[in-house]
């Protein structure tokens, strides 16, 4: 029997995921060996530094990629290409921003901060594995690493029953969707004889499958698994409850990292392995994208809870990003990648503000508690309004360019009705964002911050006259420097690249071109 030759391993390809994973394991060891609880500053600083480290390595990878082209390693299980480096950079940024946002939040709600950072880093390493995976088994493992850490992060708020409820729903539905995904892997393996995406693609382009039932069933099940992860209609039911129940920084992290990981793996699987079958699956995803944009937008309008509203708006965004998968062109990929990066930044910034506005216990997310916010806290109201307008697609923000990019790619591919309908849905969802803005700026009622007890009673009576529920638990939380820094970065990125878009657009375009 011939000896086993271990495949060559490029640690450079794996470096970002190793930084995050090994770093979080070391942080875990330090936190459990110390007699006292690890100071919050230490765990936040570790998390930020690991994120920065991963970001630096990712930028080196980008440089290497531009000069030497894409490559695969560990027997073709992982690749270093435009998509993987894009995920590495986006997720590293998300990790840094989330760590900054969470610092004050964790102290305020008395969470164990090391736990949060360890789980967030582990989850992020799962997203990086998904981004670089070139084998369905590895995609699945990345998906599970990402998801299992997220289930626990959602459940972290033990004082809030909704947190536990959201986590349980996410866990049960997520487990079910993972099972569907694995079934899809099994059937496509049966149909193509490999789990490696490149080999599947080669097989399918070299052979015509006469009886494609097995292959199509497999592709369908894989699509269902991905659609669940990215919250596409009709697999979006979990999203509002989970986004609402999760601690607010976790919601921002989830909106960014889970979407990036899920979408990039989705793009890669359907491009590398199943691009030859596009005529069969495209109509299906066309319908899903259309439903996702519309149901996301219309449901967002009907929400009274701002977190739920943003959950539905994230569904609407997912529909837009899905357009890039439907058209499956380089321009579509560039549009989707650009959208993912900019949406991640906007989502983390928006949820950071919501975490501040949620009060001392992160519970006041009802729209009525935003009344008159512009007068009480002009800075916070303005930042939130700007980020929401950017999400709505206001010109001179990245949100506009993101929507423009995917719509342009869709039109260029000839799907003009789909592009038009998506734009209609964007208009509908703009109503939901504007509604929050109007509540903040145009209403005068002040929902009684209980900062000084003396005048509480008068104000409560005043609000009763206006038939507003007395918001008794509103305690104004100041914006901590770390949170402020993160929000500032999000705003700066959103507006700088909205006005001078060249660098970021080029990055997305090149990442889409350099697909292995």
């Amino acid at each position: 029997m011939n000896p086993i030759t271990v495949p060559s391993i490029s640690y450079f390809t794996m470096a970002p995921m190793l930084v995050l994973f090994v770093g979080s394991v070391l942080l875990m060891a330090a936190a459990s060996l110390l007699r006292h609880r690890l100071p919050e500053v230490v765990s936040t600083a570790t998390s930020v530094l690991l994120g920065l480290g991963a970001l630096v390595v990712s930028i080196l990878q980008w440089d290497h990629l531009i000069r030497h082209g894409s490559s695969s390693t560990v027997a073709g299980a992982l690749v270093l290409d435009g998509f993987s480096v894009f995920v590495n950079i986006t997720v590293s940024c998300a990790v840094i921003l989330t760590a900054l946002v969470a610092h004050d939040y964790l102290a305020r709600l008395k969470f164990d901060s090391a736990e949060f950072h360890i789980l967030a880093l582990l989850s992020a390493s799962g997203a990086l594995i998904m981004g670089a995976a070139n084998d369905l088994v590895v995609v699945f493992l990345g998906l599970e690493i990402l998801s299992i850490a997220l289930y626990v992060l959602v459940a972290l708020n033990r004082k809030n029953e909704k947190s536990a409820e959201g986590a349980l729903k996410y866990f049960v539905l997520g487990g079910f969707s993972s099972a569907v995904f694995v079934y899809g892997i099994a059937l496509t393996y049966g149909a193509t004889g490999s789990t490696n995406l490149a080999k599947m693609g080669t097989y399918l382009s070299a052979n015509v499958v006469h009886r494609p039932g097995l292959l199509l069933a497999g592709i369908g099940l894989l699509a269902v698994g991905f659609c669940f992860k990215i919250a596409a209609v009709p697999f979006h039911m979990w999203t509002p409850d989970v986004y609402e129940g999760a601690p607010t920084p976790v919601t921002g992290f989830m909106a960014a990292v889970a979407k990036v990981g899920g979408f990039v793996a989705f793009l890669r699987v359907f491009e590398t392995a199943f691009s030859t079958q596009q005529s069969t699956w495209a109509p299906l995803l066309y319908t899903v994208a259309l439903l996702t944009t519309f149901i996301g937008a219309t449901s967002a309008i009907a929400q009274h809870n701002v977190k739920r509203m943003l959950a539905y708006s994230s569904i609407n965004h997912a529909g837009f990003i899905l357009l890039g998968v439907v058209v499956l062109t380089k321009a579509g990929f560039a549009g989707s990648l650009y959208y993912l990066f900019t949406y991640s930044v906007m989502a983390i910034g928006t949820f950071a503000l919501l975490g501040v506005l949620g009060g001392a216990r992160d519970e006041d997310h009802d729209l009525t508690s935003y009344r008159g916010l512009a007068k009480r806290r002009p800075g916070v109201a303005l930042s939130l309004a700007l980020l929401l307008l950017a999400q709505a697609g206001m010109p001179f923000t990245t949100g506009f360019l993101a929507k423009f990019g995917v719509i342009e790619a869709t039109v260029a591919h000839g799907e003009i009705p789909l592009a038009l309908l998506a734009m209609v849905s964007a208009t509908i969802s703009a109503v939901a964002y504007l509604r929050v803005g109007i509540v903040m700026y145009a209403t005068h009622d002040v929902p009684t911050p209980v900062s000084d007890g003396s005048s509480f009673k008068d104000r409560a009576e005043g609000s009763l006259l206006l038939e507003v529920e007395p918001v008794a638990t509103t305690h104004e939380v100041p914006v901590a420097p770390t949170t402020g820094l993160a929000i500032g970065i999000c705003l700066a990125v959103t507006f700088y690249f909205g006005i001078a878009p060249g660098a970021l657009l080029d990055f997305a375009r090149q990442a889409a071109q350099l697909l292995r």
Partner: protein, 203 residues
């Protein structure tokens, strides 16, 4: 297509019958302990099918890991949590759930059978293209250290995360973490504060 021999078919049908009876026992047994024991039966039947497919190593692992370790763990949990008594399973949590489930299961079964018959299979006995050494332990070891090396390592990472997550969730919460003390509440005038704090104690 290779024609199945009579002994093959006999083993298959016996194995399948064991699996189906065990699975019915899992969902129909009133006592959770009986349900867990029925699961052992199902897993044993699957092991029989693995042997019939000449995957001897998988059959052994199936018995040791699933029928042995995992079901024993289930039984521990059932008995520790004290839920080892009969549950009323006649009422449906969601009305109409079971008929719909029956229809969906029938449709799925039909499509799986259709796929098995009509689908174009690249792998398995229908194609039997890849030459194996006939030694499944060696084959498994080979693919774990070559094709699936990264997947193997990533599985280790996944298990680490699962353990960390379970520990975080199962950790007993220290009282200061659960206390809902709000310094501002103390400053609220008594008449309003009384109703508020009463509401908060509930949580």
């Amino acid at each position: 297509m290779i024609a199945a021999t009579i002994p093959d078919l006999a083993v298959f049908f016996v194995g399948a019958a064991i699996i189906v009876v065990g699975a019915l026992g899992v969902i129909l047994a009133k006592n959770p302990v009986h349900a867990a024991l029925s699961l052992v039966m199902t897993l044993f039947g699957i092991a029989v099918l693995f042997i019939e497919e000449q995957a001897n190593f998988l059959a052994a692992v199936q018995i040791i890991v699933y029928a042995g370790a995992i079901v024993v763990l289930f039984l521990f949990v059932i008995m520790f949590l004290g839920v080892d008594k009969a549950e009323d399973i006649t009422t449906e949590p969601i009305v109409g759930q079971r008929p719909i489930a029956a229809i969906v299961v029938a449709a799925l079964m039909a499509s799986i059978v259709a796929l098995g018959q009509l689908g174009h299979w690249m792998v398995g006995t229908h194609a039997s293209t890849t030459a194996t050494t006939g030694n499944d332990v060696a084959d498994l070891g080979r693919s774990v250290f070559t094709t699936y090396l990264f997947a193997f390592e990533a599985t280790a990472a996944l298990l680490v995360i699962a353990v960390v997550g379970a520990v975080v969730l199962a950790r007993r919460v220290s009282p200061d973490e659960l206390s809902t003390d709000e310094p501002e509440v103390a400053q609220v005038p008594e008449d309003l504060g009384a109703t508020m704090t009463a509401g908060e104690v509930e949580q």
